[in-house]
Amino acid sequence: MCVVSLSTTPVVVAHIVPYSVGRDPRVLEEAMPDLFRFLTFLAGPSVVRELEEYLLSTDARGQTRINRLENLICLSPDNHDRFGHGSFVLEPVGDPLAGLRDDGQLWSYEVRFSWVPENKPPQATRQVLF
């Protein structure tokens, strides 16, 4: 079931961190576009290190953990496309860890839906760029 529209068919499983990052390069430094430098400047080196360890470390079969369930979310195909382009984002509200049960398992937390407008460069700049 799509978590946004609640439609049941069709539903696809979308990656939050793109599958291509974990499938081909396997190390963030080789991902194109240059996610490594972008995330290092945006979020800091420690976040990049934790992200690599969380999603790009390999298991016993030599595969990355890019497909782990924590990196997946169910969406309709349309919403998958919008999510991938950043047309909307889902942001946790408050402290998600408040939804931890006694056994340490996260069973529920609230997210806020937001449309994110795309800001296009001024017309004069676009003519130079494209």
Partner: protein, 132 residues
Amino acid sequence: MTQVLDPGVQQLEEEDETIAGAVLYRRRRQLRARERQGQDANSFSVETGLVFSLTTTDSRTYLLPHPDLLVLHAAVMRVVRAAGASITPNLGDWDFDDDASDTPVLEGVQEDLSYALREYLNDTVSDDHMPR
């Protein structure tokens, strides 16, 4: 940048033609009898600010998306989609040479760069605009 630091700021999404026409509907109930009657009676449009819960019935087998990954996705997307507003029109002054020596060296950086950058900007701004 305000939108990045404080996502609660209302944005002008109606000005973006790529999403202005995109209206999502969320069903209130999953009743098959009502589904046959159409969506209008038991659905409403999904708009900015809608808060809903992600819940799993089995937190061991069917794990929820990691909240930090959603936060990271939201931050990256807000920056990327806001970036178009910040491009300087004076591109003629830019040096587009692909000189590898121009790339900043990140090896050995242990510090949180975003924090360092913020501190640097704060110092710069306060130095420039302090009343003399």
